[in-house]
Amino acid sequence: MESSFYLIQLLNGIQYGFLLFLLASGLTLIFGIMGIINLAHGAFYMIGAYLCYWLTGITGNLFTGILLAIPLSILFGYAVERLAISHLYKRDHLYQVLLTYALILIANELQSIFWGNDVHSVPIPELLKGAIQLTDNQAYPIYRLFISAACVVIAIAMYWVIQKTRLGMTIRAGASNREMVQALGININWLFAIVFSMGATLAALAGMLAAPVNTVYPGIGDNILIISFVVVVIGGIGSIKGAFIGALLIGLADTFGKVLLPEMASMVVYALMAAVLFWRPQGLFGKV
């Protein structure tokens, strides 16, 4: 194979990595700051994808669809946090695993009731429909580049919010010392509700952005859940930077695993995770 082949694969890997980052960033936020294992992350992704399909269908435009779906996701995340998650902060991880597992069952049934079991697709807006010719016979869809760009923008925005704003400072403080934040007179319940709905919305946003390339069908959430966890754990729980690096690593490992080790393509990712944790049990950028 010529070098352009590997260059394009590199592009594929990075692009997949960006998408994985978007999936994992919400999870690591909730993981790291609230100490909650949110198995329902995939359910939020699924809900985002379906909301996008539904609202795009109504409004006829992907962007208005997404703009309408975001506040709905925020509300939904907030409701879940208040009604269910907020009772679990002092409890063992085990109960969080279980409760969020139950949320998956419920979300999947609600999806089946509201939207049925068909496979749907979301049209790509005219503006982003084209493709860039890479080789004589392969083109790269502009929408994929748009997703990558959106992921980078979101990554930078998250970095900015967490490092530079007052909210971010409170969030960081809350992650390291819950009592201290409370002592400073900040309502920790309110803070956690914000973080959770932010995390849920990020997952839903990933679902929305990916909907036009991924199609929307029952069970999409389950497929991305485990891989998101792998990214978060490799990067180190709670580390946005770690999630970014982890996502790129996984994206590249998965892409090149498929090309170079097709027989074991699915195992490569898990083997990478096991190797990283063996070497650094707390992940690449995790705190001890």
């Binding site: 509201f114 049925g116 697709s121 493709a131 016979n137 991924n214 069908y217 029952p218 998965d254």
Partner: protein, 403 residues
């Protein structure tokens, strides 16, 4: 997505379900099926299909079409009323044995219909063979179900993985494609289809440039498409289905590959999903035992009736369910509703000719349809028949010891 709505819905469903369950309980307690042979008692048809998860749509269509066919027969089998026992298989293999047992031992059904998922089918057939319950498989395509696992009481109205795969090799050679990349989901169905394709394609002098199995049920194809682009084959043969098929066809078109490298596949690539695939599916050619646009009276009749009964357009899965109903009708008619006369009924079913929407077909010795395979092309979102590739394709039924 409201949490307010949730209790309302579940309550309503519970009430509905509860009433149905109560009705069912009284019915079965009043009429002890076991002792009543012939006229009075209802015939119990156990249906094990997925109604939740990825395969839910297939399960629903098969069930609706099966009941449609029996309702066309006055809702009766061999003159007896029919009672359906529906169980959601969840397409979950670990539960398959338990759920099959539930139908056979607890509900004591006379007939078993199902499943969609081949692995569930494996477990189910194994039990059904032992319990000697007449079983009609309306979808699951694993070759083994009418191969090494075949039995007198097991019938299939759908296809074996061999059937859409094998003629595809011939079809692609006829279309002039000699150097082909084979891509498929690396699981039983995909592997069997690809193997059948290869056997005819290689025998006809074709050349397989590369075989790319992709992990099932993952839908990240970008790396593979880059590989295809670099290999520059004449065409690509694929096996994907459901959500994976939509994603694959769209990704293939988005990468611009459809302009230079024609895409072929086993029929499921464009079955029931062309709406979601949109323009990307145009020109994709697939082989299958059915096409929506088949110009046969039976097909027109069926499609109209199905649309009227369910409000949904029919697809190949519905056809398979419809034919399963037809097979039951013929079997029961031959014994006039006496389910105890198994040998006689099986004989009648073996000899049945099904006037299917896909065209008339009969059964092989292994109880798999001997059917025509069509080459279809997606035109304006419709699978149009290009030509009949091979008439009366029969599964070789490797390992089958009956007949």
């Amino acid at each position: 997505m409201s949490d307010q709505k949730k209790p309302g819905i579940s309550r309503r469903d519970i009430l509905k379900g509860g009433a149905a369950a109560a009705g069912l309980a009284t019915a079965s307690s009043l009429i002890p099926t076991r002792f009543a042979i012939g006229g009075t008692a209802k015939v119990k048809v156990g249906i094990l299909l997925p109604y939740t998860g990825t395969y839910a749509k297939l399960g629903t269509n098969i069930k609706d079409a099966l009941q449609l066919r029996i309702n066309e027969n006055g809702g009766k089998l061999g003159g007896r009323e029919v009672e359906y026992v529906n169980i959601d298989s969840e397409a979950a293999p670990p539960k398959a044995s338990e759920l099959t047992n539930k139908l056979i031992k607890k509900e004591q059904v006379d007939f078993l219909i199902g499943p969609v998922h081949s692995v569930v089918g494996m477990a189910m057939v194994k039990i059904a063979r032992k319990a000697d319950v007449i079983t009609v498989i309306p979808n699951a395509g694993a070759n083994g179900l009418t191969g090494s696992l075949c039995a007198p009481n097991i019938f299939r109205t759908s296809f074996s993985s061999y059937q859409p795969g094998f003629p595809a090799g011939q079809a692609m050679l006829e279309d002039g494609h000699k150097n082909v990349v084979v891509m498929y989901w690396n699981y039983g169905f995909g592997k069997e289809t690809a193997a059948a394709f290869k056997s005819s394609f290689l025998a006809g002098g074709g050349n397989i440039v590369k075989e790319i199995p992709t992990p099932f049920p993952k839908v990240e194809f970008q790396a593979y498409l880059t590989e295809v682009a670099a290999l520059k084959p004449d065409a690509v043969f694929t096996f994907y289905a459901g959500g994976g098929a939509v994603k694959f066809v769209k990704d293939y078109a988005a990468a611009g590959l459809n302009k230079t490298i024609p895409l072929y596949g086993a029929g499921f690539l464009t079955e029931g999903v062309t709406g979601a695939q949109g323009a990307a599916a145009e020109g994709v050619r697939t082989t299958l035992h059915y096409a929506d646009s088949l110009d046969l009276p039976a097909n027109h009749r069926f499609r109209e009736a199905f649309m009227k009964a369910t409000g949904n357009p029919a697809d190949v899965y519905a056809v398979q369910g419809y034919d399963a109903g037809d097979l039951l009708i013929q079997g029961m008619a031959a014994v006039e509703g006496d389910v105890k006369a198994k040998a006689e009924m099986i004989k009648a079913m073996e000899g049945a000719t099904i006037d299917s929407p896909r065209g008339k077909f009969t059964f092989s010795k292994a109880h798999n349809p001997i059917q025509d395979i069509y080459l279809r092309e997606v035109v304006n979102g419709q699978n149009q028949v290009v030509r009949t590739v091979q008439k009366a394709v029969e599964d070789p039924a490797k390992g089958c010891k009956i007949g």
